[in-house]
Amino acid sequence: MAQAPVRSGIADNELAFKYLLIAPAIFILLLIGLYPFVKLIVVSFQNISMFDDIRSFQGFIHYERLFEDVRLWESLLHTALFTLVALPIELVLGYLLALLFLQKLPFKQILVAVILLPIVIAPIVAGSTWRLMLDQRFGPINQVIGWFAGGDVKLLWTVDPLLVWPAIMIAEVWQWTPFMFLILLAALSNVDQEQLEAAEMDGASRWMTFRKIILPAIAPVMFIAVLIRALDLFRLFDVIWTMTQGGPGTRTETISIYAYQMAFREFEISYSAAIAFLVIFVLTVVVVLALRRVEVAR
């Protein structure tokens, strides 16, 4: 009984020491993470633009404007739709590639390295390269299509509204499917082989094996990969900027491009801060819900 306070004192000291150790890291994180966020919120309630520099509280004028801004909601819709289409394509292609590379293949290591190359290319370079590849005058893509079509073809990939999203999709999927492939290859390599063999012996179909053994085994890793890519796709900027700059018209304008236009072309600083807050809010809700869902599934 008499020793309890001493033990408690030691525990308190240990706890304080732990906090002391992590304090610098927490401080730096707050400085680089929390400060800009707080500043963003403050600016969104001011009125700073090219000619105005009103730092006093201006109420919710910029947030009210968000609801009236059709172009903003269109760009959000573009972003959401593109994410919903590109993400499953990257996931399925990445998974199929990973399955292929689980087999014994000649030059497997070299092939993996080659497949991963697009990831190391800066997205702005990837976008520029694809724009040139798809160019009518200089690009090889239309030439190749022309060989199959038996004559010259005129496909304006970065101009024609019917082709412009597929063009962006090709560039994006080309660059980021290898990321899915890499993560899923690692996950699939760790699936319990004994369980797979047992399922095979029990006569389980491929679908049942996938659903009952493989999917549960790779789900946590796959979820993280999907989450990372979904966030990336939601912030998509570079590839579209270099390929179409959001055109034709505003047909391929994503929320990041719109926010950039508002902030750095039109200098609507406070309004763009409100847009940024909206994006952060949407992403936070999505991420929290997704994490909760995974937690519940566990």
């Binding site: 090219m50 000619f51 160019d135 009518q136 005058r137 010259d152 005129k154 304006l156 970065t158 101009v159 024609d160 509204p161 412009v164 700059q245 959001g246 055109g247 034709p248 018209g249 505003t250 047909r251 236009q261 750095f264 072309r265 039109e266 200098f267 600083i269």
Partner: protein, 484 residues
Amino acid sequence: MKSILIARRAFLASAAGAVAIVAGTLPALAQSAADRAVEAAKQYSGTTINVLYEAGLQPLDPKNFTGPMWEELTGIKVNVIESPLPEIFTKTMQAHRAGSGAYDVLNVVPNQMPDLALAGALEPLDAYVEKYGFADELQTIAPVYRDNQMKVEGKIYGFPDDGDTLVLYYRKDLFEDPENQAEFKAKYGYDLGPPQTWEQFGEIGQFMTDKYAPEIYGAGLLRQPGNAQYMFQERFRTEGGEFFDEETMKATVNSEAGLKVFNQMLEENKWMPPGVEQWGFIEAFNALLAGDIAMTVSWPPVGRWAAGYGKGTEALSWIPETTVADKIGYALPPGNNPELAVGFSLGVASGSKNKEAAYLFIQWMNSEDISIQRVQLPYALRDPFRDSHFTNEEYRSRWSNADEYLDTLKAGAESGLLDLSLLQTDRYEEGLRQAISSLWGGDDPQTILDDLAGQWDELTERIGVDEQRRVYSDWASKPNAYPN
């Protein structure tokens, strides 16, 4: 190639000689504006000035020519910072807003000068001009640039430094071919020559395409929205269009003139090379040099390079071999009121920590003595902008028809049309760029123009109708805002 290298060496040697003479006589005479700038700048020896330039060939002037020369003369080092053209305004404003003092010398796109000046990003230069006696030499800048690209609300904020004007380039061999002339006249009833109207441009282009495609197409114009918006601005006004109703400040870009231009542009694409909708400066330039097109409308450097001027220069090694040297004719675009598209004025950043040194550098660069050398640099993109540049005998003998070229630029500088300049001009231009990309995307022209007008009206409301009317009226009252 050897003769060109020798010519270049001789040119640089003469430039260096001129500098040496200037430097040697400075203390005694100090007469010209360049001399005065050099003499005064020596007190800042050892400092570095940061100069913002459009990325690409433009910065080769301060990097390879004026920068080293200025350092040798004054001891002031010139650090060149490059930025793509669409980002120059953004970077200038960002530096100003952040108070970073990142730039000392600025390249200002003239129609953005009011925005930058009113936002306080530019240093007024009147006091410096008076102090260093530059007023007389400013008067010898070609009037259209001097009167429109220098001042905002009566104060000097920049020195016009680049005589940009759009020029029609055409294949003389095709136009002067007797068979072509006879066939054309029989079909259209008038002589084949540089088109005077856009209707004629369409007929001549169609004629050439019908006869020579796919080897040669009638024309290839710059259709990327960033370039095409200048062509629209020009054509819209030559067709009688006005951007706004001056009373109400309602946009009138969706008028009959606007629709006519949009429809003409769509029709022209049908006889131009496939995919012309994606063409920018480089695509049209390449096609002209390769002999793939009979006409194009572009900026002045195209004419110099198509004639082979600067051939063999390392900085121009990327330019494909011209197949049309001595075959290119120069004329004003149809309508004879070319857009004075973009251009540059040299200014000083209000946040500069070396304002005086920065000012002296731009006075020296812009002076009669130095600017005549700069506009003849084969690799640089500065185009003649002083009266003396157009008449300079050395320049007029640079290639076989350099005199015609300079006469065309001079004519452009007289009848050229100013880029639309308003408060927050770039936002109006952004709307126009989007409208043009929608046009290539297949949307209905009238609907696009109505949307554009609506967008401009909304913008005007937000900026302030009265304020914008004041700025627009001031701009519209200038002799080169609309055709006379």
